[in-house]
């Protein structure tokens, strides 16, 4: 089984978010970049398929050279090789079309991607990729087993979960739950050394369209001051929630 894991290169979850160039660009100054957490859960599951079922695992990112340390980290965790499509990740369909080319060229059986990146939160690339290549697709996947050519997938739905069955090739959008937080792997020295020797294949992008354009950014208004309430006077809170906030 050939698995492709899509890796987004995103600011660490503790990053302060600022913009530059007249609020049109994300300010990367002083920002630590990491593997998108949703992707990392998926990558960890892919390692399981590698170790238990002999799968090969490639990781891919659509982005400039600055994303290579993030791909190297994925290699240090255990992926076999990395592919970087050498172009900025402009919009959802643009990235999905680049990945579709990688998918077809590599003849993959399974694509694992985070349900969304934590920077742009588009939540569309995995589904678009599946749609473009005609693969089956399951989103918000929290459980995945594969036997032969058939996958059994658990999907989180609002207020519960459902079990689905689909043939490969399959694309899943995944999140925490496909593995536990405690299953995540911190690369060890041996992994880091090995990762240096693993292939980092840089491929040039195909020419294609975008469908959306991020024009500018804006930070939320700072909040008004908090009202503190004496724990001995909870009637005040009930009154405020009813008459001021009007939420009860």
């Amino acid at each position: 089984m050939k698995i492709l894991v899509c890796i987004s290169h995103v600011p660490d979850t503790t990053s302060k978010i600022n913009f530059t160039e007249g609020d049109t660009k994300f300010d990367t100054n002083g920002v630590q970049f990491v593997i998108n957490p949703n992707d990392e859960f998926g990558l960890t599951r892919a390692m399981w398929f590698k170790e238990k079922q002999g799968a090969t695992v490639d990781v891919v990112n659509v982005g400039g050279a600055e994303t290579e340390p993030t791909l190297r980290k994925a290699l240090a965790i255990g992926a076999d090789s990395a592919i970087r499509v050498n172009t900025p990740a402009t919009d959802g369909i643009y990235v999905a079309k680049q990945l579709a080319k990688v998918f077809k060229d590599g003849g993959y059986d399974l694509v694992i991607a985070g349900r969304e990146s934590i920077d742009y939160n588009g939540g569309m690339v995995p589904g678009m990729l599946a749609g473009l290549v005609g693969a089956n697709f399951v989103n918000t996947c929290i459980g995945l087993e594969i036997e032969g050519n058939e996958a059994t997938v658990i999907r989180e739905i609002d207020g519960g979960k459902e079990t689905l069955r689909a043939a490969l090739p399959l694309v899943i959008g995944t999140q925490k739950g496909i593995v536990e937080e405690s299953d995540l792997r911190i690369p060890n020295m041996r992994g880091i050394m090995q990762a240096r020797k693993k292939p980092m294949n840089v491929v040039e992008p195909i020419e294609t369209n975008t469908n959306t354009e991020a024009v500018k950014f804006e930070k939320p208004e700072p909040r008004g001051d908090i009202k503190m309430i004496d724990p001995e006077n909870l009637d005040e809170l009930v009154d405020l929630l009813h008459n001021e906030a009007k939420v009860i």
Partner: protein
């Protein structure tokens, strides 16, 4: 040319988010000088949609579509868009809508903007305001395609009544076997529990609750308010509560009217996930907890004393105002 809206129902009844996206679609239709067509799947009485500005309903009734199936629903919606000649499609950000939206975008060669929080800033180009960086920022996006899909965040727009003369039409899309290549085997859903996705009020607990055995008081508070229960990341990581209750940047986003955080310090990742909520109340015994800087109302106190007392007060309030 009408604006097409996917109005989700459950057991034949419309969800509140369906009425919210209908309201939003009406707002867009007014900007474009057109009407709103809703597509429903196995919904019963659709007259409620008329109160929120829908003028036409395409009713899909099919046993094959009893269970949500992303590919098949996508195919049906695509055919509805083509039939109506719609240029704008509006849908919610429920798990199901988020599942099918990118598939629909590919089918229609449409640009898709997710997590949209307001009516378009302009219609030519069509520019929308959406959240990005998990609610730490807003992003203005132009959708540059002929057909455009807008995913509207829950609780961002609200319900806007606007009565319309409603006409109904049966609509039978042509579905192929390929539409069912992903088969739904079983659905496991707690019927009586308020879900975080649908809840108006969310009661959430953190490490300050000291252990899973203390959740009873949160559940009682939640029940009093008709709220869903949620938790912080450490709580779900330690297995005190299921992952499905984890809210925050890597968990579920919360956009409730009222979010009550109990024993949660307010790490930046947690705040990002919940700050789309309108009103936030923090109960924590540490006055230095960062959450106090991000909330509307705060109580410094021992949750084990404050929560049961608050529940009593709210019970009294509810019975007085019943």
């Amino acid at each position: 040319m009408s604006v097409l809206v996917y109005t989700e129902s459950e057991e034949g009844k419309f969800k509140k988010t369906a009425l919210e996206v209908a309201s939003y679609a009406k707002g867009v239709a007014d900007m474009l000088g057109t009407g709103v067509t809703a597509v429903t799947f196995n919904a019963g009485d659709t007259s409620e949609l008329g109160k929120y500005g829908v003028s036409k309903v395409l009713k899909v009734n099919s046993d094959k579509l009893k269970k949500f199936n992303a590919k098949a629903y996508t195919d049906a919606l695509k055919q509805a868009v083509e039939k109506e000649g719609s240029k704008v499609v509006v849908l919610s950000q429920s798990a199901n809508a988020k599942y099918l939206a990118p598939l629909l975008a590919v089918q229609l060669e449409a640009g898709y903007a997710s997590n949209v929080v307001a009516l378009p800033e302009s219609t030519d180009p069509l520019q929308v305001k959406r959240t990005a960086f998990t609610n730490k920022a807003f992003n203005f996006t132009n959708i540059t395609t002929d057909v455009k899909i807008i995913g509207v965040s829950k609780n961002a727009f609200g319900l806007k009544e606007s009565s319309a003369e409603l006409s109904e039409e049966e609509f039978s899309p042509n579905l192929s076997d390929g539409d069912f290549s992903v088969e739904v085997v079983s659905v496991d859903k707690a019927a009586d529990k308020v879900t975080i996705a649908d809840a108006e009020i969310v009661v959430s607990g953190g490490r300050g609750m000291k252990g899973p055995e203390n959740w009873g008081m949160l559940e009682e508070l939640a029940e009093t308010l008709g709220a869903a229960t949620a938790c912080s990341k450490p709580v779900s990581d330690m297995g005190w509560r299921p992952h499905s209750e984890h809210v925050g940047q890597t968990g579920k986003p919360v956009a409730a009217n009222l979010y009550i955080a109990i024993g949660i310090s307010g790490a930046i990742q947690h705040l990002a996930g919940v700050n789309a909520s309108k009103t936030k109340v923090v109960i924590n015994n540490d006055p230095e907890a960062p959450f106090f800087k991000a909330a509307d109302y705060g109580i410094v106190g021992d949750a084990f004393e404050v929560v049961p007392k608050l529940t009593e007060k709210l019970k009294k309030f509810k019975s007085d105002n019943a």
